[in-house]
């Protein structure tokens, strides 16, 4: 875990430093009356020290190591990225476009494009999932899902 620890160690060190500065500006107060930043200042100093230990261990173990295995498997990274993009698009479009059309398109995209299933299967499953999830969450559990473009239907 040499290289992975070097990367993560640097990340958490930066995180700790940022939080130490933020907490300091919030005010540490006195011991009699600890301020808003008191606990977080000290917690992040400890976090910073621990990230340094992770970093030093990683560097100390660097010598004599063979070639490092890749942190991420290559084959499916693109799939993960495409799925994550669709999730972020789902959130952004959910309120303006509405739950029903976005959920339908989300399933068409995942099953038809990412998983490359047959189109009639994809359309059938997408319709069934959209209708059933709407009935469960909106009609039964009254979750108030966004209606978006279908506002005019008032169902």
């Amino acid at each position: 875990m040499g290289r992975a620890d070097r990367i993560s160690g640097i990340f958490w060190l930066c995180f700790a430093v940022l939080m130490i500065i933020q907490s300091y500006h919030l005010g540490l107060g006195t011991l009699h009356k600890p301020g808003a930043g008191f606990l977080f200042f000290w917690v992040n100093i400890v976090l910073g020290i621990m990230s340094l230990v992770v970093l030093f261990r990683a560097w100390a173990g660097k010598k004599g190591e063979g070639p490092q295995p890749a942190i991420f498997g290559r084959q499916n990274v693109s799939k993960i990225v495409f799925v994550m993009i669709s999730l972020f698009l789902y959130v952004l479009l959910m309120e303006p476009v509405g739950f029903i059309p976005v959920t339908f398109l989300f399933f068409i995209y995942l099953l038809g494009i990412i998983e490359k299933k047959k189109w009639y299967y994809t359309v059938f499953v997408s319709i069934v999932v959209t209708v059933i999830s709407y009935l469960i969450f909106e009609t039964w559990l009254q979750s108030q899902l966004p209606k978006g473009l279908l506002q005019f239907l008032r169902f």
Binding site: P34, L39, L47, N76, I80
Partner: protein, 499 residues
């Protein structure tokens, strides 16, 4: 109220038709979640939390509890039939359970794990009934320093038992504490760590974080390494174990129940550790240790009993002290708070319907699980055949709807997605998520008890060493930190690698 009257009152609450229905739904969904790999009880409780908003607090809590112990039952089914643990506490069941299935004894394996779970679950609930009021009585005498020290012990135990590096687990606890500080400071009224982002003004919500770390991250990880599942095609028959099976299983079940109960009660312990410890013990005391790994029924009965007893016992620190003992209880704490309840020693007197109603519903739920699960096994096997390309879009959709309906707010969904990516990276870089979640939940309470203690003592830290209970807790915390450094720590989790 004495205990007898209290339990009677609990039955009155739990037997109300509506509560029975919620209990039924809880255990059914729990079993389903346990069966499905890629969705653990932590994510499931977080996911379904918004569905309880319309219910009364009692019904909601009863259902969420049902999901938790129901998942412990369901997890064993996949371990035995497919050799894939539905959730972490059933990892051990794979070893001998699947071997039994390969030898045509899937029926008795499923049967004994259901009976073992039932016996252990019931014993744990009885113990919870007896120990709960006692502990709550002691906790009533706690002041801010005691609570502060107790929470530190809780976090320390969880990092001590974490599956990876303890150093990294401690780092995650520190990150969790810091995240818990985001939003408005309740004492000074200042906004902290919001970076002028609107969504952070109310703080980082527990539910989106948990759904991200345990739900979304799990899906991403599974997308990377496609799950291949081979389902046993033979018919499952003879679910009822015979007399010889019972003779071999009864003591492992009893030992597993006792062990599980005590490990479950310790903050940071819990079902996973209990099941591994029970397996190790059964192998050691067995007259035929060579049979372990080749389909020994004791290797199924013991761990299954232990993980159910631990699941029941882990409610004790939460309901009596307000301290969650593991990540799932941390979400449970969040759920109680959303329903306007403050778990702790006062819960029993302020909301006896919640306390006793929930406990008694566990007796009923355990009974339901036993009756339901054996005949429904063919249905669960069918669920297992649902292909992953259909399952993961559904899990993602449920997470999205769940996170949105917490506050009808897209910001919560974005927080969940970000923590999904963070959670995936944490898995890749070998950082444990449970300490982060526990510290995030306890953060607010820990900070205010620390600040109150220092105000009480006028800034004198000796308040933490002059009070005997506080000193005791802190000594335990320090030992947990120092012992692994001095001795070569032999972790229970290394058992995970040995079979």
């Amino acid at each position: 109220m004495d205990i007898f009257q209290s339990v009677l009152y609990g039955f009155q609450v739990a037997l109300q038709p509506l509560n029975l229905i919620y209990c039924f739904f809880g255990v059914m969904i729990g079993t389903l979640v346990g069966v499905l790999p890629g969705l653990g009880p932590a994510a499931a409780i977080a996911l379904l939390l918004p569905t309880t908003f319309k219910a009364t607090p009692v019904s909601g809590v009863i259902m969420l509890a049902g999901i938790y112990y129901g998942a412990m039952y369901g997890g064993s089914t996949t371990s035995i039939l497919v050799n894939i643990p539905g959730e972490a506490a059933s990892v051990v069941t794979c070893i001998d359970g699947h071997q039994m299935a390969l030898r045509g004894r899937a029926g008795p394996a499923l049967g004994i794990s259901a009976f073992g779970s039932f016996i252990a679950g019931t014993l744990a609930v009885i113990a919870l009934t007896l120990v709960g009021p006692l502990l709550a009585g002691i906790a009533l005498r706690f002041g801010p320093p005691e609570f502060c020290a107790l929470m530190i012990v809780g976090i320390m135990v969880l990092t001590f038992l974490s599956s990876g590096s303890m150093l990294k687990a401690l780092m995650m606890a520190a990150v969790g504490l810091t995240l818990g500080g985001a939003g408005m400071d309740s004492i000074s009224g200042k906004y902290r760590f919001t970076f002028n982002i609107q969504a952070l003004l109310d703080g980082v919500g527990l539910v989106p974080v948990v759904m991200g770390l345990f739900g979304i991250a799990e899906v991403i990880e599974n997308l990377e390494t496609e799950i291949k599942r081979e389902i046993l095609t033979t018919k499952v028959k003879n679910l009822l174990p015979n007399l010889k099976d019972w003779a071999a299983s009864i003591w492992p079940i009893i030992r597993g129940s006792i062990l599980g109960f005590f490990l479950g009660i310790i903050p940071g312990g819990g079902a996973i550790v209990a099941s591994f410890a029970s397996y190790a013990i059964e192998k050691k005391v067995s007259k035929h240790p060579e049979e372990f790994g080749k389909g020994a029924i004791a290797g199924v009965a013991g761990p299954e009993a232990a993980n159910n007893a631990a699941a029941g016992a882990s409610f004790i620190p939460l309901l009596t002290l307000g301290i969650p003992s593991n990540a799932i209880m941390a979400i449970f704490l969040g759920a109680l708070m959303i329903h306007g309840l403050q778990p702790g020693p006062l819960l029993m007197t302020r909301a006896p319907d919640i306390f006793w109603g929930t406990i008694v519903s566990m007796y009923i739920g355990n009974g339901m699980l036993l009756v339901l699960n054996l005949p429904l096994i063919p249905l669960w096997v069918m669920v297992l055949r649902v292909p992953y390309y259909l399952l993961y879009p559904l899990i993602l959709l449920f997470c999205m709807i769940g996170a949105y309906s917490i506050g009808n707010n897209a910001a919560d969904v974005i927080i969940m997605l970000i923590f999904g990516i963070v959670g995936y990276l944490m898995r890749k870089f070998r950082y444990d998520a449970p300490p982060l979640v526990l510290a995030l939940v306890l953060g607010g309470e820990l900070e205010s008890s620390l600040r109150q203690s220092l105000m009480l003592s006028r800034g004198d830290f000796s308040i933490f060493v002059t009070r005997p209970i506080t000193l005791g807790f802190l000594i335990v915390a320090v030992l947990l930190l120092v012992v692994p450094i001095i001795t070569q720590r032999k972790k229970l989790s290394t058992l995970e690698d040995s079979p």
